[in-house]
Symmetry: C2
Subunit: 207 residues, 2 copies
DNA sequence: ACACATAGTAAACACTGTTTACAGGACAGG
DNA sequence: CCTGTCCTGTAAACAGTGTTTACTATGTGT
């Protein structure tokens, strides 16, 4: 059994070129325009060569998504860094960063949280656990500071907030409320997210 | 110009047979197993015949989705009928019905709110406007009854609640929190939805 | 220099949605 | 009756997809 110690640089480059091509094509025209032949052509290679570096298309797309999550975690950390620990602004900043990320990398985001295209992924397998620990910690800090009520389970609050952002994005990506709603202001994810923030803080019940 | 008055019954039947086949295949194996050739075979017809009744695959799937929405509206009306007007239970029942519908018709639901597979659809074009008017009316009634605070825009509350249910479903369909969260009880959409209901009612702020 | 594992290629395979040319039947009018 | 038109369904092809196979260089280790 012979084991090669030195990886030839040209190989590393092609593997990365394929990944870069896939990332670019995905961002440009979505997953439907991201065919193996197009990826191969852009990477300056034939389709078959891709399979020397990735098991199949799913594995390639998964790798692209993984890279997105890494950059997402960085964006998340940047967003909360500017806000004081324990403040609600810190939690709100995470939501804003989430929406900003989804809008900047729209096609990748569509793939990320798509029950058809992507298989159900374990959060623990994602880089940075999908940013969940950061969110959870901010919530615990806010509870300790008395910013939000500490009677609830922090995990429940985290899932509640996460599902809320995801829901706003999914709803507005799939449904057009034109002519259905008389809502002043633009009905984009950020607008709806900010406009409903008070409801989250104060609740639906009359005070 | 000759105009045919009587539609031959066999034609009507094939059109419906195609639709029924598509509906069944979609429910069984999702959109990826719902190929035109399979639909044709199950309907006892050749693939080309489908195009006499539907412009393309999107039109066929859209019709299936439309049928789903019709049954969804019925389920929605049934759910609220048992609850008193103006009560919060009436609003909660809608959320439960939403989740029940998503779980019973999982594959159809995945297609319905999928930004990649389905094109962005105008709510006004859907049968029953996607059930939105019903939700909105329940919220207005609850505001009048003093069940929920009436300082907010009912449309905002409606979108808030809708996005919340959709978010819970999307999040749990795409992410597996196994080993990440120490949450007693099963982490399914219904469980998470009910467990976080108090947060929606009372808000995150300490009382 | 020989052996061998690897990287990439060209071509095929099995599938997809869709279009085309064509055949059979049903109905209207002469 | 026959003729002509319209409609419905068929068979076959077209262009595209992801993937596999057989093969050829290439470069490395012994």
């Amino acid at each position: 059994m012979i084991v090669r110690e030195t990886e030839t640089p040209v190989t590393v480059r092609t593997g990365d070129r394929i990944l870069a091509a896939a990332r670019a094509l995905l961002a440009e025209g979505g997953v439907e325009r991201c065919s193996m032949r197009l990826v191969a052509t852009r990477a300056g290679v034939t389709p078959g060569a891709i399979y020397r570096h990735y098991r199949d298309k799913d594995a390639l797309v998964d790798r692209v998504v993984e890279l997105s999550f890494e950059r997402f975690e960085i964006a998340l950390l940047r967003a909360i860094a500017a806000q004081p620990v324990g403040s609600f602004a810190r939690i709100a900043a995470m939501g804003d960063a989430y929406i900003a990320f989804a809008e900047e990398h729209e096609e990748e985001f569509k793939v990320l949280f798509n029950p058809i295209v992507t298989a159900r992924k374990r959060l623990a397998d994602l880089p940075g656990h999908g940013g969940y620990p950061i969110l959870r910690q901010c919530i615990v800090e806010a509870m300790d500071a008395g910013t939000i009520r500490s009677t609830a389970d922090p995990d429940l609050v985290a899932l509640f907030l996460w599902s809320r952002v995801l829901g706003v994005l999914t709803l507005l990506m799939t449904c057009d409320f034109e002519g259905e709603i008389a809502f002043e202001g633009t009905l984009d994810p950020r607008g709806l997210f900010e406009a409903t923030r008070d409801l989250v803080v104060d609740g639906l019940a009359p005070r």
